[in-house]
């Protein structure tokens, strides 16, 4: 018995020793990084004292979609001023809903001047943070936040979706197009109704197959939905599903690789997803509904620095404000004919001739009136 206790004691001690050894080795390192830290903070003081941070939703900062776009906007702004990540601007990744609030609060306590919440899922948490911390400015992308120290950044996604719908309708040969949504929500319904309206405006006989993945991060589900759609004769899929959409691209590329003559297309969302569609010499990305979150983010930051933070406002970025555009990177697929049709409809939207529906009810009325 005594022997056993002694043995456990020895084991414990040896682990302690191991730990201590580990600790010892890092001392020098520590001094080194601290020195670096000092330098960096001096730099920072010299350039600007306005600090900006963003909190992602579960998609993460490399979602190839709007989180990434927002981060690129902040990075672009920071690098112009010679700042670096952690010194002047930073991001915090949220792995689950429970992370939103601590991430937001951390930036507030680290005295950031402006905190962006990216994605409609942060609405409730950012709202309560805005009420709790009246001295910090907040900005929410994609949803409405109601507080005097916060601004809502919205996009006219329905208009962009309408235009890519026109492109899809011109491109389809099977008269069958698909829409893959992330989570069934008012925001994604805006994409869906705009897209369907665009398709039906060109040809009311085209069928639109609509599927929701119930996730913005599940690319396996995206691939599964795309498989079913392409098998059932759909040849153009528009996705508004963040990371789930990567699965749509993967499936389209798989099909294209096995049968390079088959004409199938994906329409990207948020960023120009031209690179996602590249497979050998082919590219399956027809176009992308580009939502310039980066432009909007930089716009808000710049207004904030100049002391003109749009307090309590809802700013809506559309085609006019350079917030929404249709990518024409894939020159082979986007023929002159398609581009000119898209431009015609864009003109009609801009001069008010066409009122693009934003909800399913408005869509119904729109389709009936065709």
């Amino acid at each position: 018995m005594k022997n056993r206790i002694f043995l456990l004691f020895v084991l414990f001690l040896s682990i302690g020793l191991f730990l201590a050894a580990c600790g010892g080795a890092t001392e020098d390192n520590n001094a080194g990084t601290e020195g670096n830290g000092d330098n960096a903070s001096e730099n920072e003081e010299a350039s600007s004292d306005y600090q900006v941070a963003m909190v992602t939703d579960e998609g993460g900062v490399d979602d190839k979609s709007f989180n990434q776009s927002a981060w690129e906007g902040i990075q672009g702004w920071g690098e112009e001023l010679g700042l670096s990540k952690g010194e002047g601007f930073d991001y915090a990744q949220s792995d689950e809903k429970a992370d939103y609030m601590p991430n937001i609060t951390r930036f507030v306590r680290d005295e950031y001047d402006l905190v962006f919440g990216v994605g409609f899922k942060l609405k409730e948490d950012l709202q309560s943070a805005a009420e709790q911390f009246p001295d910090t400015n907040f900005a929410l992308v994609d949803e409405v936040i109601d507080a005097p120290n916060a601004v809502s950044i919205l996009f006219k996604e329905h208009e962009g979706s309408f235009l890519v719908g026109v492109a899809a309708a011109m491109k389809t040969k099977t008269n069958n197009v698909g829409f893959v949504g992330g989570i069934d929500s008012p925001l994604i319904k805006k994409f869906e109704s705009g897209f369907i309206a665009g398709v039906k405006s060109v040809n009311p006989d085209i069928e639109v197959d609509v599927q929701y993945a119930e996730s913005f991060t599940d690319s396996a589900k995206g691939k599964l939905i795309a498989t079913n759609m392409y098998d059932s004769g759909v040849d153009v899929i528009y996705h508004a599903a963040g990371g789930t959409g990567n699965g749509v691209f993967n499936q389209a590329k798989d099909i294209k690789q096995n049968d390079s003559d088959r004409e199938i297309w994906v329409i990207g969302v948020d960023r120009d997803q031209h690179d996602e569609g590249q497979i050998g010499e082919h590219n399956v990305t027809l176009t992308s509904m580009v939502k310039r979150v980066d432009v909007a983010v930089q716009d808000v930051i710049n207004r904030g620095i100049n002391g003109e933070f749009p307090e309590g406002e809802q700013i809506e970025y559309g085609i006019e404000e350079n917030g929404i555009s249709v990518a024409t990177t894939n020159e082979e697929a986007m023929t002159e004919e398609i581009i000119s049709a898209v431009e015609d409809w864009q003109e009609k939207i801009l001069n008010g001739e066409v009122e693009v529906p934003q909800t399913m009810d408005e869509l119904e009325a729109f389709v009936d009136s065709l």
């Binding site: 890092t26 520590n30 915090a92 601590p102 951390r106 319904k189």
Partner: protein, 349 residues
């Protein structure tokens, strides 16, 4: 010998956590980050001031309950993988009652909490009765029930509780576990009275298992079904009872989130992970009520503190995930450590 066993139960988890921390430190060293700064950030992120302390307790609360849910079923030899679904259903039921019923706090709050527990219990009852009567393995049923819970809840939020929205209204004050007093103490963290319920549930589990005939029977069924049957115990009743109580614990965890932390329920794009983390918590806590409270605190602290590591210690988020996963890995592989110590001891003799 008994005292030795007890010591073993305490020592193995401690060594697991230490090994996990060491492995994490090696990874940080290998990738050019300072492990001491990293762990200091982790500590400050979890216990640094009132706010983080409050948030750590908030995160710990549901983990205690899901840990209990897994451990309780395990005492009867059942693997409750369905804590996740039971959490979601409990969350939904608690918020639903919170929204629909209008009553003074003294009735409204207990009713909402109870609704969560009952809904979770029901979600445990189904796999329980399938196992008891038809011998369907509970692991498969509970995993499937998780998905049923997730997608049914999403649909109910969208079409019943709201009009196509993704988040319900906030529950009225009379159903809320949130406390202005506790929030004031902790610099407006979201800590709520749920922690008291969780601690009471831990006590309740200890009491049922260790001090009542029911508990004795549940354990006996877990050790040997046939022997229990032979000695006159009703095996199927015990299996069902165990799953129902386990489900009720997990349902309570959901009620904590719904009534305490968020005050609403949102469409979920994936699992909350509370139930799955509960499995690790139960393992680390050696399925013992007190151990589970400690293990849940460790998990809560790791998850809360991890957020601080990228911002103050410059450790990238992805690396933080790896370090946390390593700690959990060593915790989960405590069997290996147990075996190593036993082996070591034998040779000594």
């Amino acid at each position: 010998m008994i005292s030795n066993n007890k010591m073993f139960g305490i020592l193995v988890p401690i060594i697991s956590v230490l090994l996990g921390l060491i492995a994490g430190a090696i990874i940080m060293l290998g990738s050019g980050h300072n492990p001491i700064r990293g762990y200091v950030a982790l500590w400050n992120g979890a216990f640094g001031d009132g706010y983080t302390l409050g948030e750590t307790i908030r995160r710990t609360t549901p983990l205690i309950l899901t840990g209990l849910a897994v451990a309780f079923a395990f005492k009867t030899g059942l693997f409750n993988i369905g804590a996740e679904g039971q959490v979601i259903i409990g969350w939904l039921a608690a918020v639903w009652v919170g929204l629909v019923i209008d009553a003074p706090m003294i009735i409204h709050l207990p009713l909402s909490v109870l609704a969560g527990a009952i809904a979770g219990g029901l979600w445990g009852f189904l796999p329980g009765i399938l196992k008891a009567k038809l011998g369907v393995h509970e692991v498969i049923v509970t995993i499937m029930m998780n998905y049923i819970a997730l997608f049914t809840t999403n649909e109910i939020i969208r079409s019943v509780l709201t009009d196509g929205k993704t988040t319900t209204e906030s529950i009225p004050q009379t159903a809320s576990l949130a406390s202005a007093w506790l929030q004031g103490l902790t610099l407006y963290s979201r800590v709520h009275y749920g922690i008291l319920i969780a601690l009471f549930a831990a006590f309740l589990m200890w009491f049922i298992i260790e001090r009542t005939t029911y508990g004795y029977e549940l354990k006996a069924v877990g050790f040997n079904q046939h022997a229990s049957n032979y000695s006159g115990m009703n095996v199927s009743k015990n299996i069902i009872l165990s799953m129902v109580i386990a489900g009720a614990f997990a349902g309570l965890a959901g009620a904590m989130e719904g009534l305490g932390t968020y005050g609403s329920i949102s469409v979920m794009s994936g699992f909350t992970n509370l139930g799955f983390d509960g499995i690790a918590v139960a393992l680390l806590g050696s399925n013992h009520a007190f151990g589970i409270v400690i293990a849940a605190l460790l998990f809560g602290a790791l998850k809360e503190g991890a957020g601080e590591m990228p911002t103050t210690a410059g450790v990238p988020t992805e690396l933080v995930d790896i370090i946390i996963a390593l700690i959990i890995f060593f915790v989960a592989s405590s069997y290996m450590i147990r075996w190593a110590i036993l082996r070591f001891k034998k040779e000594e003799k």
